[in-house]
């Protein structure tokens, strides 16, 4: 039961994007289409799960004073792994996400979970927490990407349902800010009524 709570809190209650407002840079930058959002979300999930696991395993071996730099090295190693895997197996996605793959290192969610959760909790809890938070992040990115793609390109996951031009501005940078703003407002509204 407790583990289920650890897992599910990342989706709505403590959603990293909509509620905690962490990791907004990749959120806004890569969500010009649903598939990019999903790719970024899954890459971050992988890093989050792996770094949470490692941090919880070696938490007793790290001296307190150097814990943040050690966490950063652990996270950066996994980011490098993701980078190399993506470049090899999904080159188009790698091109689309560009500089934001190495920037997972400075994504506040990953370091935040390592410091705030994994460095205090057991291995299993940390794994589940990483998975839940990561999937919550992926969910938020996919949702944002889908809305922006639908409004800006008339398609979802590349499947076109409006012929001709759509409202291009939603794929460009201003659209990211505006759609995220209204999604958060919508979520606030939903949370108040339930």
């Amino acid at each position: 039961m407790d583990q289920w709570k650890n897992f599910s809190k990342g989706f709505i209650k403590d959603n990293p994007v909509f509620v905690l407002l962490l990791g907004l840079c990749p959120t806004l930058a890569v969500t010009s289409s649903a598939i990019n959002g999903l790719g970024m979300g899954l890459a971050t999930t992988f890093v989050l799960v792996c770094s949470n696991m490692v941090v919880s395993l070696i938490k007793n071996l790290i001296p307190d004073k150097v814990r943040i730099p050690s966490f950063i090295v652990i996270i950066a190693s996994f980011v490098t792994i993701v980078e190399l895997i993506m470049e090899g197996f999904a080159p188009t996605l790698f091109e689309a996400l560009g500089i934001f793959i190495p920037l997972i290192v400075v994504n506040c969610i990953v370091l935040g979970r390592a410091e705030g959760f994994a460095s205090k909790q057991s291995f299993i809890s940390s794994l589940i927490d990483g998975l839940g938070m990561g999937l919550g992040f992926a969910f938020a990115l996919t949702l944002l990407g889908a809305v922006r793609e639908a409004l800006g390109n008339g398609s979802i996951f590349g499947y076109k349902f409006i012929e001709g031009d759509a409202i291009l501005v939603f794929i460009l940078s201003p659209g990211g800010f505006i759609v995220l703003g209204y999604l958060i407002a919508l979520l606030n509204r939903i949370k108040k009524t339930t």
Binding site: P69, A76, T80, P102, V105, S173, P174, G181, L186
Partner: protein, 190 residues
């Protein structure tokens, strides 16, 4: 001429915050007041310029000759993290007034993706050292410009009667969106 193009494109056309989405966290986090946003922009200008110089040197003289560019991410973030600490210590000794002004913002900068982002962009675009420095300074100025404009608007926004659900972050994001829309007008300048 080349430098002028780099400067104009980094400040206006592809503004680091509003067009490239780097450094959104401090952009939303510390833009509540004009005075704090000035301090933050100063600290970013300082760290970003030094970080770009150091990471450029590391990339050109260590990573590339030895063929270990896959260590780029790890080495850059470590360099930036230790650099920020070092700048903090040096500043405290050499210029206490400057430290007073920038002090609290310095630790926050390690996790500012704009610094790492600009360092990575400089390397991936193949700038030489001088172009890199110009690019870093211009990016930081662009960051400062966006921060200042946004902080000014937010100070006014506090006095407005905003619908309940939109208060706080949502209205700030929508405002940023409109600001980004205005900056799109610069496209075509370069």
């Amino acid at each position: 001429m080349e430098y002028i193009i780099i400067i104009i494109s980094a400040i206006f056309v592809s503004n680091i915050v509003l067009a490239q989405f780097l450094g959104i966290c401090p952009f939303l986090g510390v833009s509540g007041k004009v005075s704090t946003s000035v301090g933050m922009s100063g600290a970013v200008l300082f760290v970003m310029t030094i970080a770009t110089i150091v990471t450029w040197l590391i990339e050109t003289y260590i990573l590339e000759p030895f063929g270990i560019t896959f260590l780029q991410t790890i080495s850059f973030i470590l360099v930036i993290a230790s650099l920020v600490q070092m700048v903090e210590i040096i500043l405290k000794k050499i210029s206490p007034p400057l430290y007073q002004a920038l002090g609290i913002f310095l630790p926050l900068i390690t996790t500012n993706c704009a610094v790492l982002g600009v360092a990575l962009l400089t390397v991936s675009r193949g700038y030489n050292l001088m172009e890199g420095v110009v690019f870093a300074v211009a990016s930081a100025l662009g960051f400062g410009l966006a921060m200042l404009l946004f902080a000014g608007i937010r100070e006014h926004l506090d006095l407005m009667d905003v619908p309940k659900g939109m208060r706080g972050v949502p209205i700030a994001l929508v405002t940023a969106g409109i600001l980004a829309l205005a900056f799109m007008g610069f496209i075509g300048l370069v």
